[in-house]
Subunit: 119 residues, 2 copies
């Protein structure tokens, strides 16, 4: 069956959540949002392209930082309302310069920082 | 720093997306939603507890199917608007009886089913 981004389920703002996972380490790196056009651009260019809700603009991951995400594979979930991209991540994925955005764990009721920013 | 679910950023419906990852295989299993109370219940009980948007009710994962998710660790992202739970998954995570909800890949413009339902 050929894939059409229009067949995905978007929220009222026309967006779908997209989880990025490192294709080598399997680490979950971040979650951001896409619209139908950013899904299409991601597939066409091989560069993971989100929709920035704050800037209301396409967000080619790493365009300014150099910390790009090259698409290895796009996956769709059973309800067609969430995406998973397996990526080759260059540099840290998080804007804080950490490898992943999920660097804070909750242990025994307290927040624990799992990693420091890269230098 | 002690963790308070009220310090997370919820959307207009009071919900935050939560990604479930298998703590053993590192496979991303599903994404669902939590409110502040389901975050608290998940931490208190060790059973991953989402908020069902369709039923507008707490959804203790596996309560009816037996396919429970035992919490290994809860993590918070940099913007505090997305959660990651590492889980011990019993049985398939997906309601279609597949190991993960992300069983459809897009390859060369076509949808490819990566796994069949378990029997």
């Amino acid at each position: 069956m050929s894939f059409d981004p229009a067949t995905l389920k978007y929220n009222d703002a026309g967006l779908i959540p997209c989880i990025a996972q490192d294709a080598q380490s399997d680490e979950v790196l971040m979650m951001a949002w896409m619209n139908a056009e950013s899904v299409a651009r991601t597939l066409e260019t091989g560069r993971v392209t989100y929709w920035s809700r704050s800037r209301q603009a396409f967000w080619v991951k790493g365009e300014s930082s150099g910390h790009t995400q090259d698409l290895v594979e796009l996956r769709v979930d059973c309800d067609r309302d969430c995406l998973l991209v397996l990526v080759r991540q260059t540099g840290p994925a998080c804007h804080t310069n950490r490898r992943t955005c999920f660097y804070t764990a909750v242990r025994d009721g307290a927040e624990v920082e799992l990693m420091a920013p890269e230098v």
